[in-house]
C-alpha cells in the first residue's frame, strides 16, 4: 500500500497511553516540593525549635507583638473595606453598565496593583505632606512641621485599600461576567425593574466574587510590607511584617525562632481570613447554567455622565494625583522647594542614573532577578500546567495543592521561610546561599510560580486536547509534538507569563527587603533605602522610572492582547 514506509510496530510493555517521558512527573514534583513545601517545613521546624528552646518564646508575650497584631488586623480590615468599596464600584460599572471607555478605565484601575506598594506610599506621601511640591505649587500645602496625615493607622489602611482594590475588582468582574445577560433579560421580562434585577439577580450572583475579592484584599493587606514600612516606621507604628523586618535587622541569638513565630502569626491570620471566606462561600455555588455569552448591560440613562465622572474622579485621586506628586518631587532641586519653571531640575535623575553606583547596581540586580525568574519559571510552569490539564486524579490535585501554598502565603512569610531554609550551608556542597543573590532568586521562583503558571494554564485549558492527540496519531513522539504542536500554541501565553513575572519581580520589595545584603539590593530595596535615608527626591525619581517601566510593559502586553488566550491579561474581559 503506497510508497510510505510503515511505522515500526513494536510493543512496549507498560507504556502508558499518556506517554510523557518518565522523568517528567518526578521532575515537576521535585520542583514543586523545593519551591512550595520545603520552605514551609523549615518555617515550622524553626518555629518549633524556638518554642522548645525557650529563646524565642518571649516574642509571643511582648507588648510590641500584641500591638503589631492589633495594628495588622486594623489596617488589613480597614484596607479591605476601602478595597471593597472602590473595587466594587468599578467592577459593577465596568461589567454591568454602559459607561464609555471601559478598556481604558480597567487598564488605569489595574495600574495601582502593578505599581509597587512602596512607590504608591511614596507618591501619596509626596502628595499630602507639608513638603508636597504639588500642594506647594498649588499653594495649599499645610504649614511645615504639621504632621503628615498618612503616617497613621488610617493612612496605612487607606493605601492598602487603594493598592488592593484591583484585586476586588478582578474577583468581582470574573464573577459578574458569569451573570449572564439572558438571566437579566428573563428577569426584566418577568416584570422586575432594573433596581430589583440588581437586588434579586445580580447582587446574589456576584456575592461569591465579592467575598473572594474581600478575602484576597485582606490577606494581601496582612502580608504587605511596602506601605506600612514607608508610612508606619517613621510614626512608630509596627505591623507584623515590619516587626519581622526590624527584628531581623537587630540580629540576635533567638532571631530565627522569633521571625519564624512572627511569620507563623501572619500565616495564621491569613489562613483565618481564608477560612472565613470559605465559610461565607458555603452553599453559594452559583455556577452558570446554560449559555453565558454576553455580559448583562444596564443602561444608566441620564446618570451615565455622573457615574463616569465619579470613576474618573476616583482614578484622578488614587492614580493621577499621587503620580503627579511623585513626578513633581523628582523634579525639585531640594526638599521643600516649590516646583515652577525656575526651580525644575533633572538633577535627581542624573544622580540615580549616572552618579549613584548603588541604584545602578540595584537596577542590574533587579533586571537579572526578574529576567531569570520570568524565563526560568517557564521550565516549571509549562510541564506543571501540561500535567495538570492532561492528567486527572491524584497527580493533578496534588500539583494544584502544592502550587496553592506559596500563592496563599504572604510574600513576607515565604521570605522568612527561605531565610530559614538556606541560612545554613547547603548539605554536601557546603556552600551558603544566604546573603547571595541566589537566595532571592529561589524565593522569587517560589513567590511568582503562580503568576507564571496562570497564563500557561489557561492556554492549556483552552487548547483542544485533540490537537495533541492528532499529532500522536500522526506519529509524533513526546518531544516532537511538544516542539511542533504544543509549544507554538502556548507560546503567546508563555510570553505573557514572562512579562507578568518580570513586571512584578522587577518591582518586588517584600521578599528582597528581608533577603538582600550589600551588593544584592534590588530596585525595591533601593527606593526604600533612599527614602529611609531622607533622599526623597532620589527615591521619587527612581520610582518614576519604575512606574514608566510598568506602564510600558503593560502597554506592550495590551498591544499583543489579541494573540493571547482569554483571561491572561487581568484588565481585559
Amino acid at each position: 500500500m503506497g510508497g510510505v514506509p510503515k511505522v515500526r510496530a513494536k510493543g512496549q510493555a507498560g507504556a502508558s497511553p499518556a506517554a510523557e517521558p518518565r522523568w517528567l512527573v518526578p521532575f515537576v514534583l521535585a520542583c514543586l516540593f523545593l519551591l512550595c513545601l520545603l520552605p514551609l517545613f523549615s518555617l515550622a521546624k524553626a518555629g518549633f525549635a524556638g518554642l522548645v528552646s525557650g529563646r524565642s518564646i518571649g516574642v509571643l508575650t511582648e507588648p510590641a507583638t500584641f500591638a503589631a497584631i492589633r495594628n495588622t488586623l486594623i489596617t488589613a480590615t480597614g484596607g479591605m473595606v476601602v478595597s471593597v468599596v472602590i473595587g466594587a464600584l468599578f467592577a459593577f460599572s465596568v461589567a454591568l453598565t454602559d459607561v464609555r471607555g471601559k478598556l481604558i478605565l480597567s487598564f488605569a484601575f489595574m495600574l495601582p496593583m502593578m505599581i509597587p506598594p512602596q512607590v504608591t506610599a511614596l507618591a501619596w506621601v509626596e502628595m499630602t505632606g507639608p513638603a508636597s511640591p504639588l500642594l506647594k505649587t498649588l499653594g495649599i500645602a499645610p504649614p511645615l512641621g504639621s504632621p503628615q496625615p498618612l503616617y497613621s493607622l488610617a493612612g496605612i489602611s487607606l493605601l492598602l485599600g487603594v493598592q488592593h482594590a484591583p484585586l476586588v475588582f478582578l474577583a468581582l468582574k470574573a464573577g459578574l461576567s458569569a451573570s449572564p445577560r439572558d438571566g437579566v433579560e428573563a428577569a426584566r421580562l418577568a416584570g422586575a425593574t432594573p433596581f430589583r434585577v440588581f437586588r434579586d439577580i445580580v447582587a446574589p450572583l456576584s456575592s461569591p466574587g465579592l467575598i473572594a475579592g474581600a478575602a484576597i484584599a485582606f490577606v494581601s493587606g496582612v502580608g504587605n510590607f511596602g506601605i506600612p514600612a514607608i508610612l508606619g516606621i517613621p510614626a512608630g507604628i509596627e505591623v507584623l511584617p515590619t516587626l519581622i523586618y526590624t527584628r531581623l535587622a537587630s540580629f540576635g541569638a533567638g532571631t530565627f525562632g522569633e521571625i519564624a513565630l512572627l511569620s507563623s502569626l501572619i500565616a495564621v491570620i491569613a489562613a483565618a481570613g481564608l477560612m472565613l471566606q470559605q465559610k461565607a462561600l458555603d452553599g453559594k455555588d452559583y455556577r452558570i447554567i446554560g449559555l453565558s455569552g454576553a455580559n448583562a448591560a444596564f443602561s444608566l440613562g441620564p446618570f451615565r455622565p455622573v457615574v463616569e465622572l465619579t470613576l474618573v474622579a476616583i482614578l484622578f485621586l488614587v492614580l493621577v494625583a499621587p503620580l503627579a506628586a511623585l513626578v513633581a518631587s523628582s523634579l525639585v532641586p531640594a526638599y521643600g522647594v516649590p516646583l515652577n519653571l525656575q526651580t525644575v531640575s533633572l538633577r535627581a535623575y542624573e544622580e540615580i542614573l549616572f552618579r549613584q553606583s548603588m541604584t545602578l547596581k540595584a537596577l542590574g540586580n533587579s533586571m537579572f532577578l526578574a529576567t531569570s525568574a520570568a524565563l526560568g519559571l517557564l521550565a516549571v510552569s509549562v510541564p506543571a500546567a501540561y500535567l495538570m490539564t492532561r492528567r486527572k486524579g491524584w497527580l493533578a490535585s496534588t500539583l494544584g495543592i502544592l502550587i496553592e501554598i506559596p500563592y496563599a502565603l504572604p510574600g513576607i512569610v515565604l521570605a522568612v521561610a527561605f531565610i530559614l531554609t538556606f541560612a545554613a550551608p547547603l548539605p554536601y556542597l557546603n556552600v551558603s546561599l544566604y546573603g547571595t543573590i541566589w537566595i532571592i532568586l529561589i524565593a522569587y521562583f517560589s513567590s511568582f510560580l503562580a503568576v507564571s503558571l496562570k497564563p500557561v494554564m489557561s492556554a492549556f485549558l483552552q487548547m483542544d486536547p485533540s490537537l495533541e492527540e492528532a499529532a500522536r496519531l500522526a506519529g509524533a513522539g513526546f518531544f516532537r509534538r511538544m516542539r511542533d504542536v504544543i509549544l507554538p500554541l502556548v507560546a503567546p501565553a508563555a510570553g505573557a507569563a514572562i512579562i507578568l513575572v518580570f513586571l512584578i519581580a522587577a518591582n518586588e520589595l517584600t521578599v528582597s527587603a528581608l533577603l538582600w545584603s550589600a551588593g544584592t539590593q534590588t530596585l525595591g530595596v533601593a527606593i526604600f533605602n533612599l527614602d529611609d535615608s531622607g533622599s526623597s527626591d532620589l527615591a521619587a525619581a527612581l520610582s518614576v522610572l519604575v512606574v514608566v517601566m510598568v506602564v510600558v510593559l503593560m502597554a506592550a502586553l495590551e498591544a499583543v492582547a489579541k494573540y493571547l488566550p482569554e483571561g491572561v491579561l487581568p484588565w481585559r474581559n
Binding site: 510510505v4 511505522v7 507504556a15 497511553p17 483542544d464 492528532a470 499529532a471 496519531l473
Partner: protein, 356 residues
C-alpha cells in the same frame, strides 16, 4: 491489512457502571464499521481505546497478529499507524493547510518532492488544492473537515477512525461529505471505524453497523440486515422509525410476521375496536406477549385493512407521517400519501412485522 479484533473489551472510569462492558467484535479487513448509539453509550470510548488514548481495564485489541492494547500493555498511538478525524477536526491553527496535511509525513522523515507529491495528491482528492497555503482559521467548516480527512489519507494508515465527523456540519454539507468518505474508503482500502449517533449516516456509509447501548454491544450486522432483522427492543427502537408493539403471539410464531397473523393479534387484544368484526380465529395454544417491530412503511392504507383511529398527522414534505391508535390504545406509526384529520378513522393493512 488485517482484521481488527476487539476481545471482551471493558473500560471502567471508576464509579458506577463501566463505560464499556465486555465488548467483542471483529471488523473485517477493509471494512467500514459504524458504531451507533445514543450519546453516553460508550462508543467514543471504544474509538479512543482503538486509537490508544485510553487503555482498556480488561480485554484486548488486536490488529491481525499484532497486540495493540490490553490491560497491561498499550502500544502508544504514535506507533499504531492509525489516523483519526476528530469531531473538532483538531487542525493545528499555526500550520497551513498543506503543513497540516503533510505533518504525518514530516514526522516520518519524508520531505522534498515526495512530501510535495503526497500532500498534493491528498489535497486533490478533497478538492482543496487552491487552499494549500491558507491557515485553518480562514476555512469554512466543510473545508476544515476535508483538511482533516486529507491528513488521514496521506500516510495510508491501516485504520481510520472517525469521531462524529459530520456532527458540526449542516445538512447539505453532510450529504457531500458522506460521498467523500465513501470514495475515500474505496480508494484507501483502510479499515474504517465511524462513530455516530445518526443512524442515517451509519446506514448510508457503513458495511457493518454495530449498535451500542449503555456500554454494551447490542448487535452488529450489515445495514440492511440490522434494519430488517434487529435483535431486541433497544436496537429495534433505535434503528429506523418503527413502532415497538406489545402483542400477544401464539407460541411458535415465526419472527417475520405476515398480515394474517398480525391481523389476528392486533384485533385480538384489547376491547372491541371499531370495525374489527371478523377476528376471533386466534389459535388456542399458548399465547405469549412479545415485542413486535412494525415499520411505518409497512403500514399502508387499504380498504381491506383494519379501521384505526388517526391520532396525529404531520406533513413531512415527501409524505405524511401518521400516528394511529390500535384498539388497545398502543400507538402505531404509518406513512400516508394524503392528509387524514386527527380523530377520523381509516383502514390500514400491516404487511410485515418483526418479533424482536
Amino acid at each position: 491489512m488485517a482484521q481488527l479484533i476487539l476481545n471482551h473489551l471493558t473500560k471502567h472510569f471508576g464509579g458506577g457502571r463501566p463505560a464499556v462492558s465486555d465488548l467483542s467484535l471483529t471488523v473485517r479487513e477493509g471494512g467500514f464499521l459504524a458504531l451507533l448509539g445514543p450519546s453516553g453509550c460508550g462508543k467514543t470510548t471504544v474509538l479512543r481505546m482503538i486509537a490508544g488514548f485510553e487503555r482498556p481495564s480488561d480485554g484486548s485489541i488486536d490488529f491481525g497478529e499484532r497486540r495493540l492494547s490490553d490491560a497491561s500493555l498499550a502500544l502508544p498511538p504514535e506507533r499504531r499507524n492509525m489516523a483519526m478525524v476528530f469531531q473538532s477536526y483538531a487542525l493545528w491553527p499555526h500550520m497551513t493547510v498543506a503543513e497540516n496535511v503533510g505533518y504525518p509525513l514530516k514526522v516520518r522523515g519524508i520531505s522534498g518532492s515526495a512530501w510535495q507529491r503526497s500532500v498534493g495528491d491528498a489535497l486533490v482528492l478533497v478538492k482543496l488544492t487552491d487552499y494549500a497555503d491558507r491557515r485553518p482559521a480562514a476555512l469554512s467548516g466543510g473545508q476544515r473537515q476535508r483538511v482533516a480527512l486529507a491528513r488521514c489519507l496521506v500516510t495510508w494508515p491501516d485504520v481510520v477512525l472517525l469521531d462524529e465527523p459530520l456532527a458540526n456540519l449542516d445538512q447539505h454539507l453532510r450529504k457531500s461529505m458522506e460521498e467523500t468518505f465513501r470514495i475515500f474508503h474505496e480508494r484507501s482500502g483502510a479499515t474504517m471505524i465511524y462513530v455516530t449517533h445518526d443512524q442515517a449516516e451509519a446506514m448510508a456509509l457503513a458495511t457493518d453497523v454495530a449498535v451500542m447501548h449503555e456500554g454494551r454491544l447490542m448487535q452488529m450486522a450489515p445495514p440492511a440486515e440490522i434494519y430488517a432483522r434487529p435483535e431486541g427492543a433497544v436496537v429495534g427502537g433505535l434503528i429506523g422509525r418503527g413502532s415497538v408493539l406489545r402483542l400477544a403471539l401464539p407460541e411458535g410464531a415465526p419472527r417475520a410476521l405476515e398480515w394474517s397473523t398480525l391481523r389476528a393479534t392486533l384485533g385480538g387484544i384489547g376491547m372491541d375496536g371499531a370495525g374489527s368484526g371478523t377476528i376471533r380465529d386466534v389459535p388456542t395454544g399458548d399465547v405469549r406477549i412479545r415485542d413486535v417491530l412494525v415499520r411505518p412503511e409497512h403500514v399502508r392504507r387499504d380498504g381491506e385493512g383494519m379501521a384505526l383511529r388517526v391520532l396525529s398527522c404531520v406533513f413531512e414534505g415527501e409524505r405524511f407521517a401518521l400516528t394511529l391508535a390500535l384498539p388497545d390504545g398502543q400507538a402505531l406509526k404509518a406513512y400516508g400519501d394524503s392528509a387524514i384529520r386527527p380523530g377520523e378513522t381509516a383502514r390500514f393493512v400491516v404487511s410485515q412485522g418483526w418479533q424482536l
